[in-house]
Subunit: 130 residues, 2 copies
Amino acid sequence: MDSTVRDHDLAYDVFSRNCPSRGALEHVTGRWGSLTITALYDGTFRFNELRRRVDGVSEKMLSQTLHALERDGLVHREAQAGNPPRVDYELTPLGREVAERLLSLIQLLEDRMDEVLLAQGRYDESRGGR
Amino acid sequence: MDSTVRDHDLAYDVFSRNCPSRGALEHVTGRWGSLTITALYDGTFRFNELRRRVDGVSEKMLSQTLHALERDGLVHREAQAGNPPRVDYELTPLGREVAERLLSLIQLLEDRMDEVLLAQGRYDESRGGR
């Protein structure tokens, strides 16, 4: 094994602004990336189905998000023959692993939102209300 | 237990654009939120120490990020007496739980970056290069 391969654990570091892993992290955590990936954890979706699931996303933003995730190898895009042609989106195996991590984070936040809302109330009160 | 409390698992849903949990998710996954929280997992930092760790963040963005995380109850800000006064930032217990989920996601991406870079290469090639 040469040293380039052996050192990869050290070589990729999201804290370095020029490391490609930072871009990948931004794609999966960005405003729509995390919701798109976790929505796809439930199965295969067409574009408009996915758009309904990710409440609030624009057509343009969902399209950009899906292209970035496809390029990173996290989402698989399958064009089906037919008239009109049908395009399905699903997670790749790596995409599913990423989705599991995101779901664990989302579950934690949903479970603890009472605590978050209390903290927000205390913070706003200490600053004279908002 | 009244039904409001009992139904909380259903009540909070990041997929609904108006649910407060979506805002909390955006704070911890936003461009700088995820890096700031995971950096703080290593201990207590002063503002400028943290800014050096989160390579590329501006003073304004780090300040906004810390305020949002403090308001959500994920980061604790402690002003120490002294001249000049010193301000320390550290994670709350809930912040540490969030950081653990984010670290698991970051570790996965760093470990699998070779696979991501290969996918990017294939994607770009199939579109005639970039």
